[in-house]
């Protein structure tokens, strides 16, 4: 299955991109996507368990994914 990964703010800076498509096994979880991202160039300074959202809702590492899901890595927020 395919998932869309979105990166924002300092994470997008580190990895040099804000969006990528990943092909993942059908049983993949958020943790699997995090592992894939962590192996990319520039990802060395990402936190080991970054905050993640799936389809615009906060999710944890065990959340299982479906084809077409959007997985977003959320740096420490600073709105307001």
């Amino acid at each position: 299955m395919n998932v869309t990964v979105r990166l924002f703010a300092s994470y997008a800076d580190k990895l040099g991109r804000s969006r990528l498509e990943l092909e993942m096994p059908d049983s993949a979880t958020v943790a699997d996507v995090t592992r894939s991202i962590s192996s990319l160039p520039g990802a060395a300074t990402l936190p080991p368990s970054p905050l993640v959202a799936v389809n615009c809702s906060y999710a944890d590492a065990r959340t299982s994914l479906s084809d077409g899901d959007e997985v977003a890595f959320i740096p420490p927020v600073a709105g307001g």
Partner: protein
């Protein structure tokens, strides 16, 4: 009436207040967050706000629903601005209308605090010395 919107234009407090006004509500509470000209001793030239817009609007919408349930809010609006802001510019406006004053102010605080904690919004501060830094991101200076 509840509305949570990311905007790219100036936030106008009068419009927000008018949007929630009704003759049944005795209390209106408003919060405006403004870009400060200094932060932790450094002179700030501007802030670039960015967001995961769809999620920010969804999360702020949830926060408004929660405030409605917890405090019985009659009407509330959040506007959060993104883009390049300079000191004095309003980055967030929150307004709450309620029959009574205490829950109006309780709800205002809840919405402001939760938005700050949960909405996926980031700021890149530009300093007078030309450097830039992601606020709240620890060691992630970009210059």
């Amino acid at each position: 009436m509840m509305r949570a919107t990311m905007v790219r234009h100036p936030i106008l407090s009068d419009s927000l207040i008018a949007e929630v006004a009704s003759e049944s509500c005795g209390a209106t509470a408003l919060f405006l967050g403004t870009v400060r000209s200094s932060n932790e001793g450094r002179e700030v030239g501007g802030i670039e706000y960015s967001a995961y817009d769809e999620m920010a609007e969804r999360e702020m919408g949830l926060i408004l629903e929660e405030a409605g349930t917890k405090f019985g809010v009659e009407a509330a609006v959040i506007e959060h601005r993104v883009g390049e802001l300079v000191p004095g510019d309003v980055s967030i406006g929150v307004v709450v209308a309620h029959h009574h004053r205490a829950p109006a102010m309780d709800a205002l605080r809840y919405i402001v605090d939760e938005t700050k904690a949960r909405a996926p919004i980031w700021k890149l501060e530009h300093y007078a010395d030309g450097s830039r830094e992601w606020v709240g991101a620890g060691t992630s200076s970009v210059t």
